[in-house]
């Protein structure tokens, strides 16, 4: 792929996964119409899910998942020491994702519920930024493949990287969707950062806030509107806590 007629120097990329479903890294292989062009920009030196080649000489490290065991901390610090740019991809890496819901329970209790009396090592879920310095965060559950491609291409070209600050409602209105709040659902679109093309409300399902807070999000106002429509405080809070993206802003 050429940019302004110039072949940019290939950037060496490593993709690494921690605790999670690996759905975000799969997005990197999922955009079939531009996949081959995208790959031609990069030299993938370490991507365990798709390649047996394992190099340590990467410029950019893409990190998926969160941290929930001691050995992951050492592995992550080692990657940080080698990478020039470290990018957290997906809601698990950025906010703890659905996995942080475990933190509401006692660790002994969750282990006993799943494994009975067997000992299994696990810690409270941490975000990537809780453990190492993160240069860039790309949220989403899963990440939008278009956004990751755009951002990685911009990293390669040294161009400015922009992630929308406005809420999902803006994208949803542009698509002329019927508002799902008017259809009786709880939707976090008014307080959630856009960039997903409003994929959930476009499917007539309320937003659960996987991309984290939009700029100047007014939680109290949204809560009041939803409660006026008959939704309970606990139902709203359950959704705000779903991906851990609003922890600190809600109880």
């Amino acid at each position: 792929m050429k940019y302004l007629g110039i072949d940019p120097q290939k950037v060496r990329v490593g993709v690494f996964d921690f605790t999670g479903c690996e759905g975000c890294e799969l997005q990197l292989a999922n955009k079939e119409d531009s996949l081959l062009d995208f790959l031609s920009l990069l030299e993938v030196v370490n991507f365990r899910e798709v390649s047996s080649d394992r190099g340590d000489d990467y410029d950019v490290a893409l990190i998926e998942g969160n941290i929930s065991r001691a050995d992951e901390i050492d592995r992550l610090k080692d990657i940080r020491a080698k990478a020039k740019v470290l990018v957290a991809i997906g809601s698990c890496a950025c906010f703890g994702g659905v996995n942080q819901q475990k933190n509401r329970f006692e660790l002994d209790d969750v282990v006993k519920e799943v494994y009975g009396d067997h000992k299994v090592e696990t810690d409270k879920v941490k975000r990537i930024a809780d453990v190492v310095k993160v240069d860039l965060e790309i949220p989403g559950c899963p990440v939008s493949k278009e956004e990751v491609e755009r951002i990685v291409v911009n990293v390669v070209l040294g161009a400015e990287i922009k992630i929308p600050k406005y809420p999902v409602c803006v994208e949803c209105k542009q698509k002329v969707n019927t508002c799902v709040v008017d259809l009786g659902q709880i939707c976090l679109g008014p307080v959630t950062r856009a960039g997903c093309d409003a994929v959930c409300p476009s499917g007539k399902v309320g937003c659960l806030g996987c991309r984290g807070p939009a700029e100047d999000a007014n939680f109290e106002s949204l809560k009041q509107i939803l409660m006026d429509k008959g939704h309970s405080d606990s139902a709203i809070v359950e959704r705000l806590r779903f991906y851990g993206a609003f922890n600190g802003t809600v109880g």
Partner: protein, 426 residues
């Protein structure tokens, strides 16, 4: 015969599989001392997290168990909730869900056969060098994968972590115009399957046989995907609700994944297990492909799972065209049933790409989940992989194979099961 006296294989974090697992083999004085498949993935405790959740968030939450088969998890979760609360899902919604399921089978099988397994058969590290050396094959793979993803997007709103599959049916149905266009693409892409079959005819899969019990859903009138009785090639038949007696989970200390067993020390699930149990229900074209590729039931070579996946890709593409024809003749305005929240317990068994997936929920009268159990296909396959390894290594050291050759065959064996390790340690 030259025998290897000593061999130490230690594959730490096997590549080209989903999730983290290690292969450890020790051979001393020509004798196998130990061969293990260790899953070291960090568990996420979904069953514990589900407690107290509103039932309608369970499918959204559990789809995050897996980045590859999230539609399968959503469908198993929905089926468990809907059976617990006696929700009747409209026929057209059932058809659309099956269409989403078929999209997932295509994208997941293509990912495995072409991107993860094929590099071994062509002696490269990944699919990336094949872009230069085998552009036609990569073209087929990319087009078929795109087709699978687009079918998921169309029927479920998104491929990874679907949007519009909700309790009662679907929140939104695709437009008929879109279904019509998809029908045409499915038919066109069957030519790519034919090309792939030609390529596979020229590739030799390892010759290894270990007699195995295969477990799958039991077809009644069609190749089974969602719900119904459970069957094994050893003659066991049980109802969907009796899944615990079909899986018999237990825990070993060296692995974070549980193991399962039925009539023997382990069993296999997945494409080959479905093929072995339900061959008669495959479409004519898929049966012809099976014959061309030398696969007949009951086949006990685990490497043939790759071939069974290719056959299933073709079968679901043909069936998807039939489903679309049925949908085009139907009224798609109402694809979601109203339901009343009530207490109950329900099991959902769904054939996902890697085998049968079970979700089992108990729900209280407020609609909250009080107890959850999920049994994952790779959890079922982990014990079988673990028991295949010593047999494979023993056979190979008798043939005088080198460390390098045995290592590659062990890696290929694990990959053949297409393990979804994150999923198995959910």
């Amino acid at each position: 015969m030259i025998q290897k006296t000593n061999m130490k294989i230690n594959v730490h974090h096997l590549t080209r599989v989903e999730g983290h697992g290690n292969i450890n083999v020790t051979v001393r004085d020509g004798k196998l001392v130990d061969a293990r498949w260790e899953v070291v993935e960090t568990p996420r405790f979904f069953e514990a997290i589900l407690r107290g959740k509103p039932h309608d968030l369970a499918p959204t939450l559990t789809s995050r168990i897996c980045g590859i088969c999230s539609i399968g998890h959503t469908l198993a979760s929905l089926r468990a909730v809907e059976r617990a609360m006696d929700v009747e899902v409209p026929k057209n919604a059932q058809l659309l869900r099956l269409l989403a399921k078929h999209g997932e089978t295509i994208q997941s099988h293509v990912l495995h056969v072409f991107f993860l397994a094929a590099p071994d058969l062509l002696n490269v590290d990944s699919v990336i060098p094949l872009i230069q050396s085998h552009p036609a094959v990569v073209g087929v793979a990319v087009r078929l994968k795109g087709l699978g993803n687009d079918l998921c997007d169309l029927a479920a709103g998104r491929t990874t972590h679907p949007v519009s599959l909700v309790v009662g049916g679907l929140s939104k149905a695709p437009k008929k115009k879109e279904l019509q266009a998809m029908r045409q693409r499915l038919q066109e892409r069957l030519a790519d399957v034919a090309t792939a079959v030609e390529v596979f005819k020229g590739l030799a899969l390892p010759d290894f046989v270990r007699e195995t019990e295969f477990v799958a859903l039991k077809g009644e009138s069609s190749y089974p995907w969602i719900g119904g009785d459970l069957v094994s090639t050893d003659g066991v038949v049980k109802s969907e609700d009796d899944y615990l007696a079909m899986t018999n989970e237990y825990k070993e200390d060296f692995t974070t994944s549980k193991f399962t067993k039925l009539s023997r020390e382990s069993f296999a699930a997945g494409a080959l297990a479905r093929f072995n149990n339900n061959y008669e229900f495959l479409c004519k074209e898929a049966k012809e492909t099976a014959e061309m590729l030398g696969l007949a039931p009951v086949n006990h070579n685990p490497y043939m799972n790759n071939v069974a996946q290719l056959i299933e890709i073709q079968h679901v593409m043909v069936e998807s065209v039939e489903i679309i024809d049925e949908l085009l003749a139907a009224d798609l305005d109402d694809v979601c049933a109203e339901y009343e929240v009530k207490a109950g317990q329900g099991v959902g068994a769904v054939e996902v790409p890697r085998g049968i997936l079970y979700h089992d929920y108990t729900i209280d009268d407020q609609g909250s989940i009080t107890k959850a159990n999920c049994i994952i296909p790779t959890t079922q396959n982990n014990a079988n992989i673990h028991h295949d390894l010593p047999e494979l290594v023993t056979q190979q050291i008798e043939l005088g194979k080198s460390d390098e050759e045995v290592t590659k065959l062990c890696e290929m064996l694990v990959r053949a099961y297409d393990p979804c390790i994150s999923c198995s340690v959910h």
